[in-house]
């Protein structure tokens, strides 16, 4: 079964820590995405990537960076975690510009 795997379901980090959220897909998809989901705000795109070593800013990139060294892995980095980054983080991949997304199960991050 094709899959997008996020490394952690739940994560608790302290303010100021550097946080890595990992996402791996086994579908040889070109495109990968990181969203955050907050009540009342829906899904907001943080960063996306159309190819290895390539990244594009989404709607809310501030405070985040990403890394895509290999096609199957797309990492989201919180450079210095803050409490307003407490959220559900969703990784997704797609085969091309018109394809449906396959989502991971999500990582619920709490920053204390």
């Amino acid at each position: 079964d094709v899959k997008v795997t996020q490394s952690s379901r739940y994560l608790v980090k302290r303010t100021g820590e550097k946080v890595f959220l990992e996402c791996v897909q086994d579908m040889d998809h070109e495109n990968m995405f990181w969203y955050r989901q907050d009540p009342g705000l829906g899904l907001r795109l943080i960063y996306f990537s159309y190819d290895v070593k390539m990244k594009e800013k989404g709607d809310i990139p501030e405070g985040y960076s990403v890394s895509r060294e290999k096609k199957e892995r797309f990492s989201l980095i919180l450079e210095s975690a803050s409490t307003n980054q407490t959220s559900m983080y969703l990784c997704a991949s797609s085969p091309g510009p018109s394809g449906g997304y396959t989502f991971g199960s999500g990582t619920r991050l709490t920053v204390v």
Binding site: V4, N31, F33, Y35, G40, L41, G42, L43, L45, F48, Y50, G58, M88, L90, A92, P97, S98, G100, Y101, T102, F103, G104, S105, G106, R108
Partner: protein
Amino acid sequence: SQQGEEDPQALSIQEGENATMNCSYKTSINNLQWYRQNSGRGLVHLILIRSNEREKHSGRLRVTLDTSKKSSSLLITASRAADTASYFCATGLGRLYFGRGTQLTVWP
């Protein structure tokens, strides 16, 4: 904003009834997609309808698209308790824009 907007925000029905959710969007589209999200989980792709299609079926799901009105509807027939979830429409080429979703509750 290219974001789709679902209507209603919440819908509560009994098992066996049909559930209809609507989506409106603002810009021209290449396709429109519907997703389901069970509580606390990732989204699951349900169906994609292209801009030159008017209707599409998948099992108990029926999606319609009216590009002249910039709207789509998702119909779930003979709903089950397991259909309880949030449903999102999404549009975009490459990157998708999601609405805020319709929370569907199906009571046994």
